[in-house]
C-alpha cells in the first residue's frame, strides 16, 4: 500500500471522561477512531481518523455470518514525564498479519498501521488515565464487510482502531486465582485457528468459562484438543510454571496464541539468567511435580493483567495448591519489571518502548 496520509475529522464536542477510580475494562471509548477500507481493486485505502461512531454495515456482511475477522490488543501508558508510550506495538502488528494469513484476510502495512495507532493515541491522549495501574487499551481489528452469503474470503474489509481507558487490573493488589482444568471443551486444535487472534476462538471459549465461573473459578486451563493431556493456555493468557527452579511454558504448537507478554517474560528471564524453557507439559507431569513439592509457582501472562498468579489448579477431583495461594517471587519480579518498563519507571534495556509524539508535532 502507498503511504497515503491520514485524513482527520475531529469531533465537534468531546465526551465526558470517566473518573480514574471508576474505570472498568472496555466499556467506554474515546472521542475518535481510525478506519481504513479494503476493496479488491484498490487495496487498503481511505485511511481516516473520525469521531467515534457506529458502523453502518449490510446485514449480509460476511463478518456476521462466517466470522472472518481478526483483532489485537495493546495499551498506551503515561510515563512519569506525562508522555504516552506503547509497549512492543510492532509485535501486535506482526501478529495481526499472521492472523490475517490464517483467515485469508489481505495483510496490512505494519509500519503504516503503527503510524495510524500513534496518531490516534496522540489525538486522544487526554483520555489516557493517570492513576496507578490505569492505561488506554488499544483495539485494532479487521472485519469482512462484503455483502455476500457465499463461504469464501470477502473482497471487502475494514481495519479499525478504537481506544478505551481502562482501570487497574489489580485494584486490591495481586491475588492469585483459582483455575479449573477443562476436560470437556476445547479452545483450539492443531490445524485450527488457535494461533490466530480471531473471534471464533473466543466464541468457542465462552461456554467453558461460564460453567467454571458458576463453580467459583476465575478461568479454565485449556488442554490440547487432541489428547486432552497437554497444557496450552489459561483463559485468554499464556501460562508459565516454575518447576525445580526452572520456568517452563508450553511450546508453540499451532494451537497456542503467541503472546507478546509471553515473549517478554521469556526474554526477561533469560536476561536475569533464570532457566526458562518452552516445551510440552502434561497435566500429569504437573500433578506429579506438585505432589513431590517441585511446583513452585504458576502464572498467566497477557496484556490485560500482565502477570496473573495461579493459587490453585483443580483437575478432576484434585486441588493443586500452589505456593500456599501466594504470589511467588518470580511472578512478582516479572510483574514489577514489566509494568515498570511499560510505565517508564524502570529502565528498558530491550528497546521495547515506543513513544507517541504530541498531537501538535504529528505530521499527517
Amino acid at each position: 500500500m502507498e503511504d497515503h496520509s491520514i485524513k482527520v475529522n475531529f469531533c465537534s464536542s468531546e465526551k465526558e471522561k470517566p473518573k480514574s477510580d471508576q474505570l472498568q475494562f472496555g466499556r467506554v471509548f474515546t472521542d475518535h477512531m481510525f478506519i481504513m477500507d479494503y476493496s479488491a481493486p484498490l487495496g487498503w485505502h481511505d485511511a481516516r481518523i473520525v469521531p467515534y461512531q457506529p458502523l453502518s454495515i449490510d446485514p449480509s456482511a460476511m463478518v456476521f455470518h462466517y466470522g472472518q475477522s481478526v483483532f489485537e490488543g495493546l495499551k498506551a501508558y503515561l510515563n512519569p514525564d506525562g508522555e504516552a508510550q506503547l509497549f512492543r506495538p510492532e509485535k501486535n502488528l506482526q501478529r495481526i498479519n499472521r492472523s490475517n494469513d490464517r483467515l485469508c484476510i489481505p495483510p496490512i502495512d505494519e509500519e503504516y498501521a503503527l503510524k495510524a495507532i500513534k496518531q490516534l493515541v496522540a489525538i486522544d491522549k487526554d483520555w489516557i488515565p493517570e492513576a496507578e495501574g490505569t492505561s488506554l487499551y488499544i483495539r485494532p481489528f479487521i472485519i469482512s464487510t462484503e455483502a455476500f452469503l457465499g463461504v469464501a474470503p470477502s473482497h471487502n474489509y475494514k481495519f479499525i482502531v478504537i481506544l478505551s481507558p481502562v482501570g487497574a487490573y489489580y485494584k486490591e493488589g495481586i491475588n492469585p486465582v483459582k483455575i479449573a482444568v477443562e476436560n470437556k471443551y476445547v479452545r483450539a486444535v492443531a490445524g485450527g485457528t488457535g494461533e490466530a487472534k480471531t473471534g471464533g476462538n473466543y466464541a468457542s471459549s465462552l461456554k467453558a468459562q461460564e460453567l467454571v465461573a458458576n463453580s467459583g473459578y476465575a478461568q479454565v486451563l485449556w488442554l490440547d484438543g487432541v489428547e486432552k493431556k497437554y497444557i496450552e493456555e489459561v483463559g485468554s493468557m499464556n501460562v508459565f510454571f516454575k518447576i525445580d527452579g526452572e520456568v517452563v511454558t508450553p511450546k508453540l504448537n499451532g494451537s497456542i496464541l503467541e503472546g507478546v507478554t509471553r515473549n517478554s517474560v521469556i526474554e526477561l528471564l533469560k536476561y536475569w539468567d533464570i532457566p526458562v524453557s518452552e516445551r510440552r507439559i502434561s497435566m500429569e507431569d504437573l500433578r506429579q511435580a506438585h505432589q513431590e513439592g517441585r511446583l513452585e509457582e504458576a502464572f498467566g501472562s497477557g496484556t490485560a493483567a500482565v502477570i496473573s498468579p495461579i493459587g490453585q489448579l483443580t483437575w478432576n477431583d484434585t486441588d493443586l495448591i500452589i505456593n500456599n495461594h501466594e504470589t511467588g517471587p518470580v511472578a512478582k519480579r516479572l510483574y514489577d519489571t514489566l509494568t515498570g518498563i511499560q510505565y517508564g519507571k524502570v529502565e528498558d534495556p530491550f528497546g521495547w518502548i515506543e513513544k507517541v509524539r504530541e498531537p501538535s508535532k504529528v505530521k499527517s
Copy 2:
C-alpha cells in the same frame, strides 16, 4: 417470550428483481427483513419487519471481536400451484437453539421465529423466482451487539432474517465434483463448536478451501481433528458413501453439523428399505473399499445443493475415482425425490412441507 405481534413497516419503493437466469447465490436481497432485539432485562422484544437496510452497530460490539454469532440456512420454494412452501423449517429453528446453547446465546421461541419467517416470506413472496431449480434462500442469524470488549457472553443480541433469491445450483445438470482430502487444516474438533452453526467454523475453513481450489478441487473432505483418520464432512455439507450396497454417513460425534438434508436422506433411505447406517468411517477403510471395487457412490448433502455427487477423492497421492465420475443411482434418486418434495411435485409422505400463507391472509 410473549407472543407479541410483529410490526410491519413496508418499504416505500420496491427494488428491481433480478432475472431468473441471472441469479447467483446470496448477492441480492429482497425488499424486507425481520429483526428482533434481545436485552438482558427485556428478553427478546420489538419484533419487526422493516425495509432491507444496513445495520448500525457500535464498533466495540462483541460480534466484531469475539465471534459470538449463529446462523441458519433454509429455502422457500414455489409449488406448481404458485404457493410458497418451506422444507422442515422447524429443524432449522431447533438447530439454531442448539447452536445458541453452545455459544451462550439466549434461546429464541421456535414457533414465534417460524411465524416471523413465514410472514416475511409471504410479504416478499414475489421475490421467489419461478425458473426450474431456483428458490428463495432464507438466512436467519443472531449477532451479539453489546458494546463491550470483555470476553464474556453479550447481554444484547439481534435476531435477523434476510432473504435472497438464488439460482439453480446445477445450471448444466448435476456434475460430480473432485474433492481433496484435507490432511493439515481442521474444521472442528470434539469439544469445539463443530456441531454448532457459528461463524468461527466457516472462518476456519477458508484457508483449506482456498488452497485446494487453486489445485482444481471443488472442496475439501474434512477429517477428524484428533487422529486425522476419520471422515467428518465435505466442504459445508454432510457426506455419504455407498459401500457394498449399504449407504453410510459419519456418526454425529460433536464436531459434525447435523444437517437437515442429512437427516432427510437417512429417512428417505429407510423408507425405501435401502440399508443405511451412521458410523465412524476412516479414510483407510474407504480407500480399501475403493480398491476392492466396493465403493459404489459418494455424495454430499446440504440445503444449497441438496445432493452433490463426488466423482473423485484425492488423498495424498492417491486418486479414488468413484462410479466413473458419474452420478450414481442412489444420489440421483435422492436428489429427484428431495427436490420433488421441496417443489411440491412429488408426494410428501413425511409431512416435511410447511406452506406459507398469502400476505393478505397473514394475521399479524
